[in-house]
Structure formats: structure tokens, C-alpha cells
Symmetry: C2
Subunit: 603 residues, 2 copies
């Protein structure tokens, strides 16, 4: 089994030539992130990922976490690796310098995040959840709360969790029942049970800062009665030192299909008198805060889709290069060849490669827009960028994660029978990938968000604006006069037309025919992802063409490969956009009309 | 977790109204299989599947098999279940009455097989492999061999295995190295190691009859030097009683992603002086025999695709009916609803349902053609049916198994977070399904077979003939004047056109441009599967329409559901045929041209 290697060359290409790293590094507050500095960071991160995290990935899968009387024991080597991780400063990359963070742009922290997620997804969830908790406190904590919690969380000494789900409240958070009762000194006692809490208990850090959704005694029913609380595992004294053990306990951990090393905890709050917590932000606004933060969390899970596809690609490629089997098609030689010579193995490798590179370009492009939305001096650019980020988040999350299931499956297929044997390691990525279209909102939840808040609410304006941007690329491709680029242009154009058609259907039906709009939401999301991916690959092909035709590169093979990968994407993936548009427009009617009883009529 | 229920209603519909069970039961030798008898068999089988096999499925997954010093211990309850299974006569269903079999038509044994595979796929592999070994001996064993082995194998007292794979010989069986040395009395000593041997060792039966590919001392290199041997675990005396333990030993079993209860063995032949075996059939024709038998084995694995999809559907449906979450879209009610009310859950359920029913119709239709090819008095019908069977085998195997991976994945998605927890049982089907596109020839191997032996060899004639058959259905759909059927016709017509285009590409390129033909082979196979599935669903819609418009059914809801499911298939699945045809025609060039080095250029 090969260890992960950071795809630094493609990362650099995407950051510098597709996402304007140079421009980002000139934004106020981003000045440290010059291309050279970023390269050095990624090289260092890549080394850490390869040498420390990647070798622990399989150990983590095999050993998993153990639950013992309320304690959770992480796999061998996990705790040491986490210590090295935080000592090297990796927990601080994306954080505010005021609390000890490095304040690097989102574009850079995104690339860094990809490293961890490719090398060891189960490990990466701990800093990812901590990051989410940090952002929640940044967003709505008091100064005192920030001072008390953030420096330790940024340094990684303490980790964080997000406590949303309850047995009856999964996708529907309005059903949350955990209660918070005031105890008079401004604090609260929490009572209730939370499930699916990632890294809800472990011993890698000195403290765990739980952010918990709960209801105040006088709270209204439903979504408008949920508040956010901070409930540390160990109470924190005003001087920052640790106090008593709080009344929150890990009752059990789940036995899961994948990410075995990431403890998925059932947490009981208040079984012994009440878990002490503080309100974060205003009462009854918990869900609203969550929605703001979800952009980041969903983006991060979308990055898992990319990261697992990259890992799957590397593994499939290594196996295809070394496994000798059969003879080359159409050659008269009786010499057996590595399976990479077989056309269908090449097709599978290119399918993973094309998707991986498309996802990287798409996701980093959204990351760069995060930076523009936050730091650009021109308010119009900030607004436009923010709208683009918000439109794209459900696509990044929904499409990349669904793709990861397919890409990790293809990796198994390239391995043949060996792929089904756990020892090979291919199966782990497939198992790990399967959670990504579920957590942080299932694909259907992403699709709801896409068609509702992101499309219908603005009459499809933002999405159609994006389509218009894409059409400029079609014109640019054609302007080169290059035949291969012209073919990419034709397919991209058809894809954009399909996307427009899909968006129009949603806009026309969202109010008048909401069930139909929702029945078409996931096909639309998939269509959206395919076309966005195709757009970015087309942009990449354009850049590659320019570099090659101007002869201004020392690295022509990279650009040729990029152009060919873009062509593969156009010929193999983009045609499905048209098919999906047919489904979006015509396929909802029967889904909605099908009677409940008819589902069981075959028995 | 729900137990499996036999989908008897749909099975009956497919057998009687789409596959001509009545006609089959009039073929010489098939007279016992009247629709009433078949119904009784399926009801009995369904009971056994629900009551005995289905409850053991999870136990088998959790416990798996254990290897202890050469012995393999099957999970709790396995041995008893197997005994019940064979005592009830289920091992004999498809076998020749001359050796104790029931000689039921393939159409019927196929439906019976579906039951076992849905209820407990890991269990079903034991009788399936035995069936393969029975067929090999039927095909080319001597009368003495048949008398010696077949009655005990048909009764299930002995089981069988197929020993093909070796570490260096997976998809490429020409690389087989196991040797067979004559010992003078007409028998041979075998030496070598075989891997991935399903049920290669276990204690459910008194003996295990291994069929083994090996090379004679003077054998030519490559595929033309491989012979077939029968090597029993216990030597068999001429009176049929068991003799000495043979020198074949299970060295280890694999730790696999799924089908944990099916022992996947490494078998060592001849470590202690040589495993005694007899030649089966003529020397050096082993691979040829394998190819003849593979039709049956590949068909059976294709049935696993259908069977797992059915099981996934039942589980997803049960969960969707009982899980309460969220509110109905577009309703003002504040009452929470079962998730089956949510449009995207309906879409997912219909996606599984439509694929499952399409696969059932397609596979049973091929099974009926097996019967026609074997028993029909008219030689032309026999030949035509045989050509159809051979064309369809790679499609049944390749398409249904790839779909099973998606369908079992959708079942997890319907379950949300619970789907990722092993306890729920959804994850097991997903893990089990992943082997099906690999064993008995990967999807690429099926696709090679499809484009080479099944399409190019006859200049695409058989496939184009099938397309012509399908076009008749388009005409019949239109002739009804029904709007819904008209829409199905339009999409089917586009699908057929895509199929014709794809077949033409293969025919045009197979000789002159073999790498391109092979690069397009899997997309063509997928296209083929989609269109065949669409054709059978269209036929089903037509039958349903007729029954409904003639008012000659007591069961109108079933037929309405069938028609709507066909429409879903047409709107959601058929449109991708056109997209795939674009890939088949245009997508090979870049796959072939991509340089080996370019695969690694992103690092």
C-alpha cells in the first residue's frame, strides 16, 4: 500500500493559474501569503501528511476507537500524531492572529486541509470540528468567552465539537429537545442526549469544548427556539485553568462502516445533575448561527470528496503501474504488461483524475471567493463573491461527496479482486467516503438549500450570472481556433444550456409546484456539479493552451496532460448534463404522483 | 432491520406476462413447470428465504468465517441452515433428473436463485459454486465421473468449487502455473496454489469437489495449455464412499470488505506429496470448458446485482415508511411526516425500484431464452435464443452488478446517518455488493466479451437485431395513443438510436482501432444495460396499459404502479444512453492517446 503524496504540482497550478493566488495575496490582511510562502507551507504540510498522518490511516481503520467506561481510547499513535500536529502549528493555519492564529487566506488553508483529508480523513475530523467551534465562538461569543477559549483551541490544546443531532432530530433540527435551565449566575444546566458527535470524547487534548444546541425554558417551538451553548468537558476557571469535570459523558460510540478512528459519540448531558454551560450569542438564535457556520463546515466536507478522490487516484495509479496482467490490446507481443496499458484501466484512471482535478479547481475557486468576500476593498466584489460562495457551497458539498463514493469505488475496481481484500487499503477509502454525502447535511439537504435559498430566493439570478461567466469561457475556447478546445467548447456550451434549463425549471416551479422542484433538486445539483467541474476544466485547458502555444513553460508535459484531462472530462462527463436536464424538467411529475401504496406493490 | 420478503407479485408478473412462462412450460422437458406449480415453488422458497436465510445474513456478516489450522468454521447457524436447505431439495432445482435433479426450467431456477441471493448472498455462493461444478462435470466428465460425483452434489451432500485464480493469474488465466503430473494409473498429482476460492474449505458438507485448472507437463504455453481436473477434498472410492484426505489444504482465508460468511480461501495443492486428481474432459481444453460454463456463472452473478438491489429496496422502503423527520413540502401542517413523503426520498426509492424491476425483467427474459435455446423444437429458435443469451450475458453480469453498488449505496443514503452505522444492516449490502462487479470477470472483462465475441465477431448483427426488436416496442407504445406511453416511446427510441450508434462504432473500430474499441467498451456496456432495461420496462408498461384499458385485472393498482415505474425509468435513466453514446464515439481517442507519464504529472 502506497503512502499519500501531496499533489503539489496540481495544487500550485490551480491556486496560481486558476484561482489568482497572486491577487489574493494582495488583499488587505493576506499579504503574507505570497506564492513562495504558500509553496513552502504546502511542502511542509505535504511532508507531515506523508510521513505522519498517512501511515496512521490504516492503523486507525483496523484498531478503531475503543470505548471503556465513558473514556474513548484512540488508536495507537494517534495521540502522539495529534501532539506533533498542533506543535507544528497546523491547528492555527486558518485562525485569527488575535488569538494566535496564522490568518492565512481561505485559499491556502483549503489546500492545507486537503492534505490532511487525503492522508487521513478520520484524523482530519478532529481539527475540522475544532475549527467549526472556533468559528462559532468568533462569530457570536462574548469577548470574555473568546479570550477564555480561543487561544487554547487555536493552539490545539483544546479541541471542539458541534452537538446538533438527537435521535429524533437529524436532518430536522427543529425537533431538538435538549433543555437548558438557568442557574441564576448567568450560566445554565443542560439536560439531554446528543448523538453522532464526532470526537465527542477522546484523550488527545486537555479539554473538549462542546458547542450544543438546546432549548431555553421559555423558548418557542421549532427552529426559532433553539439556542447555542458552550459546554466544556472540564469547566474553565476565569484564569483559563481547568476546573471540575462537567456533567457530560460519552455513553457509547458507534460501530460504523468507515472512519473507524474518528469516535462518533453518544453524549449524555446532565445525567448527574446538569451539565454547566454558557449561552453563546443571543437566545433562540442558535440555528441561525449554525446556518452561518455551516458554509464552512459543508465546504470542508466537500473537500473530503476531493481529498478521497485524490487518495483513490494515487492508489489506483500505483497499482495499475505495478500489477502485471495480460497482454497489450492490438499488439502481437507475448510480453505481459502492467495493467495501466489496458484501455479500460486507463479510462478508469482518467475518470478519477478528471473528477479530482475538476473538484480541486472548483473548490479552490470557491475558497478564493471566500477570501474576496472577506477582504476585497470593493464592496461590490465582496457581495458578488459572497453570493457565489453561497451558491456554490451546496454544490461543493453535494457533488464532490457523491463523486467520492464513485471514485473510491473505481479505485477498488482497478485493483480487481485485491481491491475487495481489506489488506490492500482500497476498501477503506470506499468505506470512509460513504459518510461524506450524509453528514453536515445529506445531499438532499444540500439540494434543498441550492434550489431554495440559493436559486429560487433570487429568481435564479446568481446561477444565471454564473452561467453567463461560463459562456465567456466558451467564447475564449473558440477564439483559440484549436480543434480540441473547440470540442470542449461545444460540450461545455451544451452543459451550460442544460444548466440554464434546469435553473429555469426550479425558478418556475419552486413556489407554484414545490414538490416538483424538490423532486428535481438532486438531479439539478448533480447537473450543476458536472457543469461547474467542466467549466473549470475548460478554464484549465485554456490556460494550458496559452502556456503551450506561447512556449513560456519549462513544463510542457504538465500542460499537455491538463489539456487532455480536460478533454476527457468533456467527452466522458459533460454529456450527462443534458441527460440530467431532461430528468430535472420531465422527471419530477411521476416522482410526485407516485402513490405511497404503490411502493410496496411488488411484494 | 427488516427481514427479506420475496417479491412474489413482481416475479409472477415478469415470468408470466413478460417472459412467457406458459410457453416455456410447454417446451419438451419443461412440462412440470406450469404457472401454478411455479407459484407454489416460489412461495415455499420465499418462506425458506425469509425464515431461515434472511435472519442469518447479519450473523454471517458479524461473525464471518474463522480459519483454524486448516479448518474453516462457518458462522453460527450456517451448517444447520445448509442442511435444511439441501434436505428441502433446493440444491437440486436446476439439475438433471438423471442425477436426482428436479430439472426445472432456467426461468424458474433463476427466480428461485434470486430468493437466496436477496436473503443471504454469502450463503447463496455455496450452492452457486456447486452448481458450476455440477455443470462442468455434466459438460465434460466421463460417465463414471458423473455417476461418482453428481448424485451427491445434486443432493447437496457434497459441495463444489471452481479453482481458477492464482496470484499472477487473475483476469489473465493464461498465466496459470499449477502443475498436474501423471502418476501412471490415469490419475494425476497436482501442485500449486490457488487463491480467491469461494467456499474452498468449510464443514457444511461431507466432501468438497474442487475443479481445478492446471497444466500438464507437456502442455503448450498460454491459454491452450490449461486442463481441467477434479480434485476432491476426500478421495472417493469406486463405491462412492469417502477415502483418504487429499493433499489440498486451506492455508488462509481473506479478510474482505463484504460477504464475510463466504470463506474466500487460499488453497495449497500438493504440499505433502501431491493432490490426487483426475482429468475432466480432454487435455488442454480446460479454458474452453470454463468459457462455456462461464455463461451460467456470470449470469448468476448478474442475478446477485438484481437480488441485492431488491434487498436494498425493501430495506430503504421500510425505513422510509417508519422514520419520522421534517414536514411535508408545500403543506402548511406542523405535523411531522415519515420521510417517504419527502420528494427526494421518493426519487431515491423509485430509482432503486425502477432499476430492480428492469433488471428482473431483463434477467428473467434471458433465462427464458436459455430454456428456448435448450428445449425449443425449432432449431432456428434455439439458435436465435442462444445468440441472444450470449449477447446478453456480459450485459446482465456487467450492468446489474455495477447498478447493485449504486442501489445499495442509495439504501444507505435513504437511511441517512443510521445507514453508516453497521447495526442498521444497510452497510452490509453495500459492502457485499462491491464484489459483484469484480468476480467471475470484472466489468471490463465483460465489456471485452461484449464488444469482441458478442458484437464484432458477428459484425454487430445480433445486437442490431435486438435493436430492431426494441423498435417494435416503440411502435406498439405509440399505437396505444396514450400520452405517457408516447413519452416512454420517445425516450426509448432515443436510447435505441444511441445503442445502434455505439454498436456501429465498435464494429467499425474493433479491427482497425482495437484500443479505441476497448476504451469505449465499458461505456458501451453501460449504455447497453440502460437501453435493455428501458426496453423491458417499456414492455411492462405496454402490458400494464393493456390490462388497465381492457379492465381485465383484479389488481389495477399493481399495473398502474408498473406503468409509472416505467415512466420514471424513461425520464431518469434512459436519457443517459444518449450521453454514453457520445462518450463511446468521441471519448476513446483521448483515453488511448494519454501518455503513461501524464498520469503522474500532478504530483
Amino acid at each position: 500500500m502506497s503512502e499519500y503524496r501531496a499533489p503539489l504540482r496540481d495544487m500550485r497550478f490551480v491556486m496560481e493559474e486558476l484561482c489568482g493566488l497572486e491577487q489574493i495575496s494582495q488583499l488587505p490582511g493576506c499579504e503574507d501569503a505570497t506564492p513562495d510562502v504558500v509553496q513552502a507551507i504546502l511542502e511542509e504540510g505535504g511532508k507531515f501528511a506523508t510521513e505522519v498522518l498517512s501511515p496512521l490511516n490504516r492503523v486507525g481503520d483496523q484498531e478503531g476507537c475503543r470505548w471503556e467506561d465513558g473514556r474513548v481510547i484512540t488508536p495507537s499513535g494517534w495521540k502522539t500524531a495529534y501532539q506533533q500536529f498542533r506543535e507544528a502549528g497546523w491547528t492555527a493555519v486558518a485562525c485569527d492572529p488575535e488569538y494566535g492564529g496564522q490568518g492565512l487566506p481561505k485559499l491556502v488553508s483549503t489546500a492545507v486541509m486537503e492534505l490532511w483529508k487525503s492522508a487521513n480523513m478520520a484524523f482530519s475530523l478532529c481539527p475540522m470540528l475544532t475549527q467549526g467551534a472556533i468559528e462559532a465562538l468568533m462569530l457570536c461569543g462574548t469577548d470574555r468567552q473568546k479570550q477564555l477559549y480561543l487561544p487554547k483551541m487555536v493552539s490545539g490544546e483544546w479541541t471542539g465539537t458541534m452537538n446538533l443531532t438527537e435521535p429524533q432530530a437529524g436532518s430536522d433540527l427543529s425537533a431538538v429537545r435538549t433543555r437548558a435551565e438557568p442557574i441564576g449566575d448567568g450560566r445554565f444546566k443542560l439536560f439531554g442526549q446528543k448523538i453522532f458527535i464526532t470526537y465527542g470524547e477522546h484523550e488527545m487534548s486537555d479539554n473538549i469544548v462542546h458547542l450544543v444546541l438546546a432549548r431555553l425554558p421559555d423558548a418557542p417551538e421549532g427552529v426559532k427556539g433553539i439556542s447555542l451553548f458552550v459546554v466544556p468537558k472540564y469547566l474553565v476557571n476565569e484564569d483559563g485553568s481547568l476546573g471540575a469535570r462537567n456533567d457530560v459523558r460519552c455513553v457509547s460510540i458507534e460501530h460504523k462502516l468507515g472512519i473507524h478512528a474518528s469516535p462518533t459519540c453518544v453524549l449524555a448531558f446532565g445525567d448527574q445533575g446538569g451539565a454547566i454551560g454558557e449561552l453563546v450569542g443571543e437566545p433562540n438564535k442558535g440555528l441561525q448561527y449554525m446556518f452561518i457556520m455551516m458554509n464552512e463546515a459543508r465546504f470542508a466536507v466537500g473537500m473530503e470528496g476531493l481529498a478521497l478522490a485524490e487518495r483513490a487516484y494515487q492508489q489506483a495509479l500505483a497499482y495499475a503501474q505495478e500489477r502485471i496482467q495480460g497482454f497489450e490490446v492490438g499488439q502481437k507481443s507475448d510480453e505481459r504488461v502492467p495493467i495501466i496499458k489496458h484501455p479500460d484501466v486507463r479510462r478508469m484512471l482518467l475518470r478519477i483524475k478528471a473528477h479530482t482535478e475538476a473538484m480541486r479547481a472548483m473548490n479552490y475557486h470557491v475558497a478564493a471567493a471566500f477570501d474576496l468576500a472577506r477582504h476585497h476593498p470593493d464592496e461590490k466584489v465582496r457581495q458578488r463573491s459572497q453570493a457565489y460562495v453561497e451558491l456554490m457551497i451546496p454544490v461543493v458539498k453535494g457533488w464532490c461527496t457523491e463523486r467520492a463514493v464513485e471514485m473510491t469505488s473505481l479505485n477498488i475496481q482497478v485493483h480487481g479482486g485485491m481491491g475487495f481484500v481489506e489488506e490492500t487499503g482500497a476498501a477503506q477509502h470506499f468505506r470512509d467516503a460513504r459518510i461524506t454525502p450524509i453528514y453536515e447535511g445529506t445531499t438532499a439537504i444540500q439540494a434543498n438549500d441550492l434550489i431554495g435559498r440559493k436559486i429560487a430566493r433570487n429568481g435564479g439570478m446568481v446561477a444565471q450570472g454564473l452561467a453567463q461567466e461560463m459562456e465567456k469561457t466558451v467564447v475564449e475556447l473558440r477564439a483559440t481556433g484549436d480543434a480540441a478546445l473547440g470540442r470542449i467548447a461545444t460540450r461545455l456550451e451544451a452543459g451550460i444550456a442544460a444548466l440554464r434549463k434546469g435553473v429555469e425549471f426550479i425558478v418556475a416551479n419552486y413556489q407554484s409546484n414545490p414538490k416538483s422542484a424538490h423532486a428535481s433538486s438532486v438531479p439539478l445539483l448533480e447537473l450543476f456539479g458536472i457543469v461547474c467541474g467542466g467549466w473549470h476544466m475548460a478554464r484549465a485547458a485554456l490556460v494550458a493552451h496559452q502556456r503551450l502555444s506561447q512556449g513560456d513553460t519549462a513544463d510542457p508535459r504538465f500542460y499537455q496532460g491538463k489539456r487532455d484531462t480536460a478533454r476527457f472530462y468533456a467527452d466522458h462527463i459533460l454529456p450527462h448534463a443534458t441527460a440530467l436536464a431532461e430528468t430535472v424538467v420531465d422527471g419530477a411529475e411521476v416522482t410526485v404522483a407516485f402513490t405511497d401504496e404503490a411502493f410496496a406493490l411488488g411484494m
